[in-house]
């Protein structure tokens, strides 16, 4: 309710702000231009959009928690860089046997938890084993292939029942988080990890504060304090930036670029992202069970217009976005062609088609409007049903009770959903499932990627869904801030390199 009002108000407001901006000569300088050295004790305020419901890294899923806590507060044996490379974290190095069944990790020396206790190999074994054995913990199923986890001195060995080319990647996420064995910390509102930052305070409904961990085992963080401020409204975030109350805006609306750059020392940074807006089509019922109808919908949509309206990002014509392994350009599978779309619908014997699009209301109205007019052009009447996210999860995700739907799938490397017939995409193709399985079992990376690419092409040719666009990560960063990650910030936000000069 608020969001819709806010959207309407924002448009009105932006117009008035521009008019009024003409009447003022002294704009507030905002953050001052940096002149000196980085201040090692600086406090940096970062605007985030979505606040997690609690801090329970074990159980509560979602990027809102990953962003804040993984890499900064909690660590795994391995981590990932912003360009998706797997790098050492709590393990200084690792080896994978040729048959892909044994992973041997060497643990870093002298690592301590934030409560002062030393990290032992037993903590690692306990964390991974408990994750695997506790179904209510996030990503528990991702360790299903691991048959044993053992430790010997500083060496931790994982033995697999069958090769799993996604295991290392999974260990960079929730499945690999290392906790203190039998920790009594209240995970829901506090944290005890090994990372470069300590969770200082969570002010529910407002902010999360991290402070530098002075006992950190690696290189100390470059700032004294990071304050994540949760500001839901884009315009309110820009105002906070203009008033000098925040140093970085993530989730920045690129259409407000001009406005923020007027306010002094701000740079808008575009990064790559694995976020994909997936237009899911429920193919369990007529007429969407007909590939020609789905193909018609794909070809009726003007993807370039969507990217232009959003203001950032790029077109995407298949299930795998450019930063992920297995990507190839699949634009040949669905070129924009309303004429061809009409012909396909005619061939399928469908006319006067009426469909309902169910989306969470926070995605605004820009894209639905484009979809309504695009589909209307080929003779499909689209009704838009914008619902609260909880309703979406229940109706669409859990009960698969929908015709068309779109949400942002931010997770990198999530092709598995196309190989899962029970997923809400309702896509059930044994060939794709088999190719994905082969890719998982491949012990050669190039081979694994080639198999993924092959599977992805089939998904696109089947018109299993449409991919409206691949997001860009858009942030606005104040002068003096360095080391702020630009790529994939919706999934991760490693702030160990962040500095601020004043």
């Amino acid at each position: 309710m608020l969001r819709r009002t806010a959207l309407a108000a924002t448009a009105l407001f932006a117009a008035s702000a521009l008019v009024l901006a003409g009447c003022t000569s002294t704009a507030d300088p905002g953050p001052t231009g940096a002149t000196g050295e980085p201040n090692p004790d600086a406090s940096v305020a970062i605007r985030l959009v979505l606040e997690p419901g609690n801090l329970d890294i074990r159980q509560t899923t979602g990027a809102a928690l990953d962003q804040v806590l993984i890499d900064n507060v909690y660590q795994g044996l391995v981590s990932r860089t912003t360009d998706q490379e797997i790098v050492p974290a709590l393990a200084s190095d690792w080896e994978v046997s040729d048959d892909g069944l044994t992973y041997t990790f060497t643990l870093e020396e002298g690592v301590t938890f934030h409560d002062g206790q030393e990290l032992t190999a037993q903590d690692v074994v306990w964390s991974l084993q408990t994750r695997k054995d506790t179904p209510e913990w996030a990503d528990s199923a991702r360790l299903a292939n691991v048959s044993s986890i053992t430790a010997d001195g500083q060496t931790v060995t994982l033995t697999l029942a069958q090769p799993d080319s996604s295991l290392l990647w999974n260990l960079t996420g929730r499945a690999g988080i290392i906790l203190k064995e039998g920790d009594t910390v209240d995970y829901q509102t506090a944290a005890n990890g090994t990372g470069p930052f300590v969770l200082e305070e969570w002010q529910q409904g407002a902010s999360i504060t991290l402070t530098r961990n002075d006992a950190y085992w690696g290189d100390a963080a470059g700032v004294g304090e990071v304050v994540f401020q949760y500001i839901a409204e884009d315009q309110a975030a820009v105002n906070a930036a203009a008033a000098g109350e925040v140093d970085v805006l993530t989730g920045f609306d690129p259409n407000l670029t001009e406005q923020i750059e007027q306010n002094g020392d701000w740079t808008v940074v575009l990064g790559t992202a694995t976020d994909k807006s997936v237009l899911a089509m429920n193919s369990t019922a007529a007429p969407l069970d007909d590939q020609r109808v789905r193909q018609a919908i794909r070809q009726a949509i003007d993807h370039d217009a969507i990217v232009e309206a959003v203001g950032a990002g790029q077109t995407l014509y298949g299930p795998i976005p450019e930063p992920d392994p297995g990507y190839e350009d699949l634009s040949d599978t669905a070129p924009y062609d309303p004429e061809a779309a009409r012909a396909l619908l005619e061939e399928a014997g469908v006319d006067d088609l009426e469909l309902t699009l169910t989306i969470p209301s926070f995605y605004g109205t820009t894209i639905p409007q484009i979809l309504v007019s695009n589909l209307n052009e080929v003779g499909i009447t689209l009704e838009v049903d914008a619902v609260d996210f909880g309703v979406w999860v229940n109706d669409v995700y859990t009960n698969k009770d929908y015709e068309l739907s779109y949400v942002n799938h931010a997770e990198p490397r999530d092709f598995e959903n196309w190989a899962n017939p029970d997923y809400y995409f309702t896509y059930d193709n044994p060939e794709v499932q088999d190719l994905y399985e082969q890719s998982l079992r491949a012990t050669d990376e190039a081979e694994a990627d080639a198999l993924l690419a092959e599977a992805a092409r089939i998904v696109a040719e089947d018109a299993a869904a449409d991919w409206l666009y691949n997001w860009a990560g858009v942030s606005a960063v104040a002068t003096g801030i360095d080391g702020m990650p630009a790529d994939n910030v919706n999934a991760r936000l490693d702030l160990s390199e962040l500095t601020k000069s004043e």
Binding site: L2, G53, T61, G205, A236, D388, G390
Partner: protein
């Protein structure tokens, strides 16, 4: 009077009880539950089932309701499914923002509406009086979000006098900062609520001007304005008190929107977040307290009205 108060109090309790059942049932009609939210969009059905079981969401509805109401009678409103903190503690924490915000909003609303409303009634038929009344009509129609944004741009972005959003991390241990953080949001609610109240004050004043006792007082040699101020305004005050109940409800609704807009960690923002997260024990506790508060204000307004208004006392 005593009998009236008792009857009215019984009515209040009945209202609360009906509200509690309504709140409980309406929330259970909402599709989706907290287990799905926690498991998210990559959660497996097994994971959702395990979480649901561990949170006790599988108990029958009537048992959950009886459990909740039983707790309410013991002063225990329940526990958040997300944070494990008690609803009472969370509400007490967030009330530190919302209660001062509400009081400040009300003060602003009264400061705007009473003097200007009386003035616009006295200047009826003249340009400035008409302008006041038309201006109030226009202001009352302004979207709250937009009004808030404009105030922020002027006072926070351009002039830099006040913060654009947020609340100091130290809360009221930094009293000056805390108060500064509340001024713009309270002003936003106050101006819009005040504009609505202004029209009401204006018509109440006009009514008072036409009353016999004011005319009589004027005939005894007081000027019309003096007569109105001495004899009419108490009645205007009474009328204002009687709509305060409605105003409070308006302020509560305004707070929900404004706290979101200004990122204030108050009850309104908590309510929105908790509904989104399907943290039902929190939501029903918050709604019960808010409903109770609005009903209580209505109760007090009725009592005060009865005490102050001689005509009603005679009728009793």
């Amino acid at each position: 009077m005593i009998r009236y108060a008792l009857t009215r109090g019984a009515l209040l309790l009945l209202g609360l009880f009906v509200a509690s059942a309504l709140i409980f049932l309406t929330l259970r009609v909402l599709p989706g539950d907290v287990a799905q939210q926690i498991a998210g969009t990559n959660g497996t059905p097994e994971q959702v089932a395990a979480i649901r079981e561990s949170l006790g969401l599988n108990a029958p509805l009537w048992a959950q309701y009886v459990d909740w109401i039983g707790g309410v009678f013991r002063g225990d409103l329940g526990t958040s499914l997300y944070t494990g903190l008690t609803v009472t503690a969370e509400l007490a924490e967030k009330a530190r923002v919302t209660v001062p915000l509400g009081i400040l909003s009300l003060l602003f609303a009264l400061a705007v509406s009473v003097p200007l409303g009386v003035l616009s009634a006295l200047r009826r038929g003249r340009a400035d009086g008409t302008a006041l009344s038309v201006g109030a009509q226009a202001l009352a129609a302004v979207p709250v979000v937009w009004a808030g944004m404009m105030l922020v741009v002027v006072f926070a972005v351009w002039l830099g006098w006040l913060p654009a959003q947020g609340f100091p991390r130290g809360g009221w241990s930094q009293p000056v900062d805390a108060l500064r953080a509340l001024i713009l949001p309270a002003l936003t609610i106050g101006i819009i609520e005040g504009a609505m109240l202004l029209r009401f004050v204006r018509s109440a004043t006009l009514q008072a001007i036409g009353q016999d006792y004011v005319r009589t007082a004027a005939a005894k040699g007081l000027t019309r304005n003096a007569a109105l101020i001495r004899h009419g305004l108490p009645n205007v005050g009474l009328s204002v008190i009687s709509v305060l109940g409605l105003q409070v409800a308006g302020i509560v609704v305004g707070a929900v929107i404004i706290e979101q807009l200004f990122s204030l960690p108050g009850i309104g923002r908590m309510l929105v977040n908790d509904v989104d997260a399907r943290d039902l024990p929190m939501v029903q506790g918050e709604l019960l307290i808010l409903t109770g508060f609005v009903l209580l204000v209505g109760f007090l307004v009725d009592l005060v009205h009865r005490l102050l208004d001689p005509r009603q006392r005679e009728a009793a």
